[in-house]
Subunit: 230 residues, 2 copies
């Protein structure tokens, strides 16, 4: 008999249950939708979603359960499932939690990451070293997110990575919006530079403090400018 490991079989349909499919579709729909633009609540209809996705209610419900657990939707018995609008207070809370986790990741990164890994941080974002202001703000928004994700991944703590990625899904939009307000982007870049230096020097206390304060700064910023959230 032929051993299957002689081939490099790429799984045709890969691994994805309908539930996972539904989950990803719904999550994408929710995160891409501009929740805060509209005034009234957005209601999701299980049966309609089932039809649109071409599956039965069961996997849709399971996907909605996960999304509810992650804080994206709220389900009221016999009334409907609604997309959750986060309050400013909740957003600020998430940023605080994020700051806590990322600063711990920075500390761990100083202890665990290789020199090459830490160096890659600087190479990933050369533009930080050129004083360019908020011209290419769109590209920078993405680079900004990637920067923080990179720090978290360098911490090599899976729990922190998971918790953070969930938080990020909720605050991604806000984070990019904040960059366009006041002098946030310039300030942000300068702080990033400092953070990179501290990490490269493996000054864990410094890196930890800088990352935390950077996060707290964002929280304060949102607290000041984020009135559009409510």
């Amino acid at each position: 008999m032929v051993k299957s490991d002689q081939f490099n079989i790429t799984p045709i349909v890969a691994s994805s249950s309908l539930r996972t499919l539904a989950y990803e579709a719904l999550k994408a729909a929710i995160t891409n939708m501009d929740i805060y633009g509209r005034a009234e609540e957005v209601r999701l209809d299980e049966r309609k979603l089932s039809q649109d996705l071409g599956v039965s209610r069961t996997p849709v419900r399971e996907a909605l359960t996960v999304l509810e657990q992650e804080g994206f939707v709220r389900s009221e018995a016999r009334r409907g499932v609604f997309v959750i609008k986060k309050t400013k207070k909740e957003i600020v809370g998430m940023i605080h939690a994020w700051a806590a986790l990322e600063s711990m990741a920075a500390r761990l990164a100083c202890e665990r990451a290789t020199d090459a890994q830490l160096k890659s941080l600087r190479e990933m974002f050369p533009e930080f070293y050129e004083g360019r202001p908020s011209e290419h703000i769109d590209e920078y928004s993405d680079a900004n997110i990637r920067f923080h994700q990179k720090i978290i991944s360098l911490g090599q703590c899976e729990v922190i990575e998971d918790l953070s990625s969930n938080l990020l899904m909720h605050v991604r939009g806000i984070r990019n919006t904040a960059l366009r307000q006041g002098d946030r982007s310039e300030k942000s870049i300068k702080e990033h530079v400092q953070i990179i230096k501290a990490l490269e020097a493996r000054q864990k206390e410094v890196a930890e403090t800088l990352v935390r304060d950077h996060g707290l700064g964002l929280a304060a910023h949102v607290n000041t400018y984020g009135d559009y959230l409510e």
Copy 2:
């Protein structure tokens, strides 16, 4: 007609869907079970659970979905759903995340909590001030957990509270076990006293640092003594 608000009607069956019931039952069963005592994996049978709980598979499955999301069980298609045994590495990671969140909560508590609230911390744990060693270890274990929960609640950040409470469910057992190893309990008490003092003095940087290091100490302790986890 009689207005219903003239009565103080207490809802008979209260509010609990079968799914919630099943969730709580299963969670209690899992957390009370000594997972690390037995060698082989624990498998949960949906149909059997349905029978035992007296409900259909549907609410049981939804409960299992939530538990899977929280990291208590893992579901393999057409093979079964298993209670997850955390590896030592994962436990240490959770403690790191916990330490990050709690230290942020301590900082926030310094800024937000009232004097009375901070004072209550000391009053809740008078035994910390008497040099008693690990005699009343059982009571102390509970007090230990409550202490940390109290700090987190004083931070008044709901996100941090929620994330922490989930982590706590996973680490509770280990945390108490650790107290009985080495001189962990004596060390722990001393650090608690320092933390209380810093909080009362509203020295947020100090409190933050102490809480973080206390958590990191536990992580290191588990890393050293926690071989029984695997």
